[in-house]
Symmetry: C2
Subunit: 377 residues, 2 copies
């Protein structure tokens, strides 16, 4: 059986169901990031309450701490973390790439030093699959190389070949019932993106991720690469755009036919006081909110917006109270969950373009309360 | 009407109801500390769920930030903080005392520098009452001087006179329907404790607090002072032992007839990984919990204990995840709330001494899993 059942398409956008070992997940879906086995600043019950059915965890982080064998011995990530929804584990390619001088990439795999204690580690593509199986992920990702931007065509071509070889080796050792996704690379070269996609599709993965973005490239270049790849992907397989993004990016991605997203933006921004509203982002620390009795977003139904004013949230943020991070995180993740639900409804009713137009005019028409965009990696 | 209705006495221990502007509160009660208008690391709804009906906030902190006038303009602390239970505000005497060289105590009041920005402030006893009325406290506390330990009999006698004068001045300006408590001082001198109590009782406050403890004195000396005061206090008025303590201290206090308690111990300890169990305290960071699949306390019904293992909680603590502080805080405050509920039930059923014996043998019989006591101010 295919991992994905497409329920309805509307333009390129599609409403579907991803079948995981921990239940069906409606797509398009945004997965909150739970790097270390917990989504930062929010509890499992709150995620469940807001309709979140799938989160991302990081194989690299859990391998180092508390150890993937420990997670296995404790009954797998769901049991360990008290989470009964689905879990996708990132292979750690991006994290290891981010270690810079602390890592070395070879044909056999990656050698790196732990960011926690400096200990040395070697991980092969095969071992990374095993680590994710120990963790008990419902969706595993192949180890890939995320190249820097800019990188030469020559280096990127060699890297695509390596990533393809790693993907083949990953598939060969893949055991059990969880899903395995290949990750399309190829930097900002259309020919290499095509080459990567074709090779991975030939290997028949359960799903395909688009990786190697958010490395400093202009957004227009990224979208060009996404368009390049989308045409090559089989319609009946899930498509996952890794590490994106702002609400407007996710809306754009859904419009292009992407099914899955993850990003630290809603959680990290929450901890920095950056809160999403229908009409743009606000930073709650601003003095102008000190006596503002309105909620973050009048149209939002989250616990934070239905119980607390901007004035109180500003006070908590300025006083650096833990509850500030918590309440802000609840709001931002609810905002994302509600946005995705709105898009799924629009696709289901065949009015995605109408939604898209409304979304655009809300964003443009609304007063950008902070005056400017907030950038965050 | 008296602020307190005594429902039943059992030895010195008593079951009663404190009547506040935000509903009745069953006593003995433990008030979690919400210094800056939020209990650190836990949300209002979680407090409510575990039966908490009254919290403490700090007039000194709220006066400085966000400002008591702002809290007033936002509709008072309950509305500002989204909390529909009762609030007692500490006057700030203890906090200002703790500022050391940054404060100067005179007959008229206290001059001090803000711990936030170094700005200079003068607060008289009258102004402190006004600040608490602006905040909208259900129970206000008179400004008092908390003397250091040890202090001379001469200094302490003069200080008691000052605290008494301040109490008289506070009562004279007290307006509105909230309750006002006097604070008994007198250091570790029985004659001065008697003198302070008699003077305050003569002023007919709504309730009486026992202050000036946890300043470094031996616990036996503290209890002797508590015994000294208790006999002087009117039976129909609430009695509040400020800033205490560990579960065993609270049980001891209830046995002596104390009605109200507050302390940062459960919340602060939670953030340090120190967790309460029926058989003693454990520190969750210990390596021996890394594969422990049992909850913190098998007999505990809190969200943390019913959903997460010690192994997971240890991982979160070691990884410094925000959710660690949150889950630990939920457990410790639930533990305190359950302990107080157990005591109220025992008094109601006339079996407090039986409870007391059981509590003692649980604490002694249980394996102190960390091997030693954890001390915390």
């Amino acid at each position: 059986m295919s991992a994905l059942t497409v329920v309805k398409t509307d333009g390129q956008a599609r409403l579907a169901v991803l079948h995981t070992g921990h239940g069906p997940v409606e797509t398009p879906v945004f997965m909150p990031v739970g790097t270390q086995g917990t989504v930062k600043g929010i509890l499992q019950r709150d995620l469940k309450e807001m309709g979140v059915r799938m989160v991302l965890a990081n194989a690299y982080h859990l391998y180092l701490r508390p150890g993937s064998t420990l997670v296995k011995d404790m009954g797998g990530i769901q049991r360990f973390a008290g989470w009964d929804g689905a879990v996708l584990t990132d292979s750690g390619g991006y994290q290891i790439f981010s270690l810079g001088v602390l890592r070395k990439i070879g044909e056999e795999g990656v050698t790196f030093q732990s960011h926690i204690d400096g200990s040395k580690h070697f991980l092969s593509p095969e071992r990374i699959v095993e680590v994710q199986e120990h963790i008990g992920a419902d969706v595993c990702m192949c180890l890939d190389e995320c190249v820097a931007y800019p990188s030469s065509h020559e280096y990127t071509a060699a890297s695509v070949e390596r990533t393809t070889n790693w993907a083949r080796r990953s598939k060969e050792v893949k055991d059990g019932s969880s899903l395995l996704f290949g990750i399309v690379q190829g930097g900002m070269y259309a020919d290499l993106r095509h080459r990567s996609t074709e090779a991975l599709v030939g290997l028949d993965f359960d799903g395909y991720a688009l990786g190697g973005f958010s490395v400093g490239e202009p957004k227009s270049v990224m979208w060009k690469m996404v368009d390049t790849v989308m045409g090559d992907l089989p319609a009946q397989k899930p498509r996952y755009l890794m590490g994106l993004g702002f609400p407007e990016d996710i809306v754009e991605g859904v419009r292009k036919g992407i099914d899955m997203f993850d990003c630290v933006i809603p959680t990290r921004h929450a901890r920095n006081g950056n809160l999403f509203t229908k009409t743009g982002r606000i930073n709650i620390k601003h003095a102008k909110y000190s006596r503002d009795s309105s909620p973050i977003d009048i149209s939002c139904g989250c616990y934070t917006c239905t119980h607390f004013s901007r004035a109180y949230l500003r006070h908590l943020f300025v006083a650096r109270e833990l509850t500030s991070y918590y309440l802000n995180t609840v709001h931002n993740l609810f905002f994302y969950a509600a946005l995705l639900a709105r898009m799924r409804a629009a696709i289901g009713e065949g009015r995605f373009e109408e939604f898209y137009g409304d979304f655009k005019s809300e964003q443009e028409g609304g007063e950008a309360q902070d005056g400017s965009r907030i950038c965050d990696g």
